[in-house]
Symmetry: D2
Subunit: 366 residues, 4 copies
């Protein structure tokens, strides 16, 4: 008996696309990568010279539509820039393929709703939102303690930060013009964790602000490189976030969940590994350079669980619509950042007020 | 030659008053505690039975005015509840005594301004605001690194929290009705640290929210037991805070200062001492029970520097008016918490808008 | 072009054998597990009911000789008890197969020398000693810093401990009668690290002692459940070790390398993951339960590098004879423990004195 | 009623003598420093120019005998070099004064026995051995957990290290010729902690070795700058130590106590304060420079408890003879280091064998 495998194609060969291929080839025994696709010339060239791709007989496409027609393909992994996530996911579904879609589905809520609606019409297909932190061993342990073992009583507060290493190459800035603003691009994992740990609370009000410290060119797209936001939920729950593109030591992503009887923190002190150097300066440990080093094995779990849901015809671990709730809050924080005004929801979770970008009193946005 | 000492009286023998007497007797060689004062019967009885007070010949008064007339008294330490700080400080100044006044001077900005004005008319007297964290060795080391050595480049963000151990006796709740709200009572050290580390920035806007988790009786005084606030400053600086009365493990006070080239954290992982226990549960260290355990030696430094400023006729280390700026921000956060609206300042630091308490949309405040 | 893979069989399906199969199937894309072998009835039954083994079409053998004749088999992984490592390795080599052999090769130096000699006669075969810590990311980072970047100057001291969680099932005790004593069974990774980090020093003298705390039945095999040993090397280098079978919190394996200009520690504070729980007791993190949790990804690297050395016909990362040097020191520590006397080597590394087991003055050994 | 105070003189104004005066003046309210004494010209000059000494009216003597005649003197604190501890303690006792004597009393066991005998003839005098770690809050918390709360079951093993910052001035080397060797000078606190935490066990055998890394001139006095030793006690208890003069980061003093149900560590990760710096290198905290920074407040407790035992006529917290047991073990480790042979005791704790220095096989000693 041979193992039941899934033939998968990966679209997008940026930093993460390459890594997803690596994970699928090396650590996902039931996945067979049959094709990759990119329209970026330097990525194409890189792929064509890649020994591993040759060895594992991976076809290389320039056009997404062509890859969708690759013989025997069963699933696609969408790892492109945010602006084409929705259309590529829709095309995959329409071709009858299972789809893993990197977050966020879209920065336009109506566009992402269309995809969700389309997916619901194809219940036989596994269409999944890639909220990778939900597959991390530490977050899962925290969730078990908070939600199952009730270690901290009733959870009511989340502090979470996504602080990236300063990218002096400016790569991310070029990319940032497409991504909907810092809260949309950076905080959505933190918001997702909040909904998870606080058991799907309904937002009530939020506010945020930010600053530009290293990337003044972001002002042209009304963006900042550091932002802080607070979200109040109905029922006395609160979350607050720090997003940063400019950390000196590395990727500093930590989360604290406070409950009536305790607090759980995840990665409060980020460490690249178990090594400490004692020298004249004191005791030093390194910090992971970026989220890959922090979440490498979460991506392995994510890939295996997605492939497993196809092989076993079981529900995907993170439904596509989860991303929609997260995006609503991220957008409202972004509105607050741009306008300086509080965004408000009613008890049904319907957004009843948000400031207009043009009303912006904040120097960073105007 | 005998050491030049200062005869000092302490008013207020609550938890902190007792501790200040202890510090003055045991660790402040140039101070001589000649008197204490309290109008609380159980504190009076405690003091009258105190062997150390007898041994060190400390007079015990019920009336503050009487203590001010104690023969040879040169200074007073005001350690009562906030509502009498201002009047007791004024009376001390008017008697020609040096005064150390616990924070905050008053929750009413006009009242505290009166005291500041009075103190300025008596430049020969040392009148000092007791912002104790400024005397803590770790915060001083952080300040040296941030402000002198410029270790982290230009500082632009502060995260700071004052999270107290849950007080199941309800003591603090009874006290809380006098203290002006959680941001005024808890966040003012965090705000003071912000002004210190960000080099006296001018506030621009702030918002905050909160929740009641353990002390529903606080609703009667429009207060919460956990609050989160964000302050934006002119010039692209940001601070955010968490105040809590309900921590399970102990006194969890940490501060992070982020700059363009690094970040400094103070007490990110609070530890009662150097002991770790390994047992079936894992590795555990205790957390300081309250701010005394955390700041015991800061109080020693504070006391010696106050006495030193008298002996040497040098400026007090923390001028009285510093408290005024801090209080303005704390009050504006409190207004935001009560009203749900953003408080705003102009570039001169004049408050130009704050929501009214009555407009409060927040369930916790109404 | 299909990936070049290696057909491998695993002998021994104890805790580690199962895990090696898991790693080879899930994280070693160039390995194909074609067979497993065990003569333990309960392991056989477990294997025959294993869904993954069926899915991946893994043949199950009772007799090692039969597995060696499995069609197409190219390599074996010897993961049995120590007493058959040598003979199984020899049989594999004689069949013309590549062999990965769990440490130690043998507790008898002459027997292991025979295997080394045999392997040297088959330079075409990859025969490797499984010193798994050499594949751990943290130890590799430490080695890079110590040996390449010279971060700590000249290294001269190693402290290393292998402290296992107390096994209340008594499993290990039954196993221990075959394994040559605590220094041979537990310290050989620590000794291997010492030779690595101190650049193959020549031993000069060693002494050790121990105690029986939880497993008095070990006295029957002259063993202890905790031991401490010191090794002096020619040229002023020193190493010292703690081996324990009885830790309460988990698997506590740490190593410190001290040099003339600094110190590097690996895993000084063992952590199961990034989660910390704050509750009434303080702040607690869990410890890995056993070496699998600590070294899971080291085993992945080890498996891929062994398979890689076959595919690429490159030298194995840890030569078989490395184990021989390590075993000599472990045996000398064991002699010191048994006899209470110092074991001594000359400058060529020839053992010139060791106490006899019968002379033992130590209560634990007699 | 005036506080009951003790007039005390301090002999020795080296690093620690100065600090003891500082502690006695600033943090020991019942002590009055009336005199200091030193025969070192530069210390005399420093003292004569010291403003605090003038202010507190502290007499300065060149001759110890003269200080003993200072009017009203009641106690002396002996803080000189080890070679005169015994004689100065005896002279103090003979003058009818209470004496605090820095460790060790003497490196000659017969000399220290004489002092102990003399002290026992003067039961009215408080004569105390200054084992300062017994006054440290963390060690006391560990002792409460180990000995009173039995947190770790039955304690059976101690690992303890006293590792000092490299002293590039060479000061200590000049001092070292008087101090009896590295185990006598450095390990006696660790041995004292062992006797405390393991409840006064009887030694059975010990061995040690060392190396010279930074101070080759120590070879002239048969000393090393790093040493490791193991002590086996009757009843299955074990302790092992690392002494170092050559650490890069700072004063690294940690202790682990292992019991049948857990382990307690003290200062496993040494930290100068609560500050962590994040920068390009990673996360760094400083280490205390020397034992003063680590034990500053232990010295305060020690001073107050010594003075308290005089004021209250209560037993001294650490009897003089405790030092004698400690010294016996330190000397036996030193013999092992010098001779390369195991030192042995019988069950009564009588030393029955130690190698002769001349037999030394160890290159570092010969």
């Amino acid at each position: 008996m041979a193992p039941q495998t899934v033939n998968i194609g990966v679209v997008g060969l940026g930093r993460m696309g390459k890594r997803h291929v690596h994970t699928l080839v090396n650590r996902t025994p039931r996945a067979t990568v049959v094709a990759v696709c990119t329209n970026m010339p330097h990525e194409l060239e890189w792929a064509r010279n890649n020994a591993e791709y040759k060895e594992f007989d991976i076809a290389i496409y320039e056009k997404y539509e062509d890859m969708l027609n690759h013989p025997g393909i069963q699933a696609v992994w969408v790892s492109t820039s945010t602006d084409v996530h929705a259309i590529q996911t829709k095309l995959g579904i329409q071709k009858g393929l299972h789809v893993m879609c990197e977050k966020p589905l879209s920065i336009h809520l109506d566009e992402s709703q269309e995809v969700i609606d389309l997916a619901e019409k194809h219940p036989d297909l596994k269409v999944m939102a890639a909220f990778s932190r939900r597959f991390d061993a530490s977050y899962r342990d925290a969730a078990k303690k908070v939600l199952v073992e009730r270690t901290i009583g009733k959870p009511y507060m989340v502090r979470s930060q996504t602080c990236d290493l300063l990218d002096t190459t400016g790569f991310f800035v070029r990319y940032a013009t497409r991504n909907g603003g810092i809260f949309v691009d950076c905080a959505i994992h933190d918001i997702d964790l909040t909904l998870w740990f606080l058991d799907n609370p309904v937002p009530k009000a939020c506010w945020g602000t930010g600053t530009l410290q290293h990337h003044p060119e972001l002002a042209a797209s009304d963006d900042v490189d550091n932002a802080v936001g607070v979200v109040e939920f109905w029922g006395g729950k609160v979350a607050y976030y720090h997003c940063s593109r400019t950390q000196a030591a590395g990727h500093d992503v930590s989360t604290e969940i406070t409950g009536t009887e305790g607090k759980i923190s995840v990665n409060l002190v980020p460490r690249a590994n178990n090594v400490i150097v004692n020298d004249k300066r004191g005791m030093t440990h390194e910090v992971q350079e970026e989220y890959w080093q922090r979440f490498e094995y979460a991506f392995e779990t994510e890939a295996n669980e997605f492939i497993g849901s196809i092989v076993n015809d079981s529900p995907v671990p993170v439904p596509l619509k989860m991303g929609q709730k997260v995006m609503q809050i991220a957008r409202a924080l972004q509105s607050a950042l741009w306008s300086g005004e509080v965004s408000k929801w009613n008890e049904k979770g319907e957004l009843i007020y948000e400031g207009k970008k043009e009303t912006g009193m904040n120097g960073h946005a105007k």
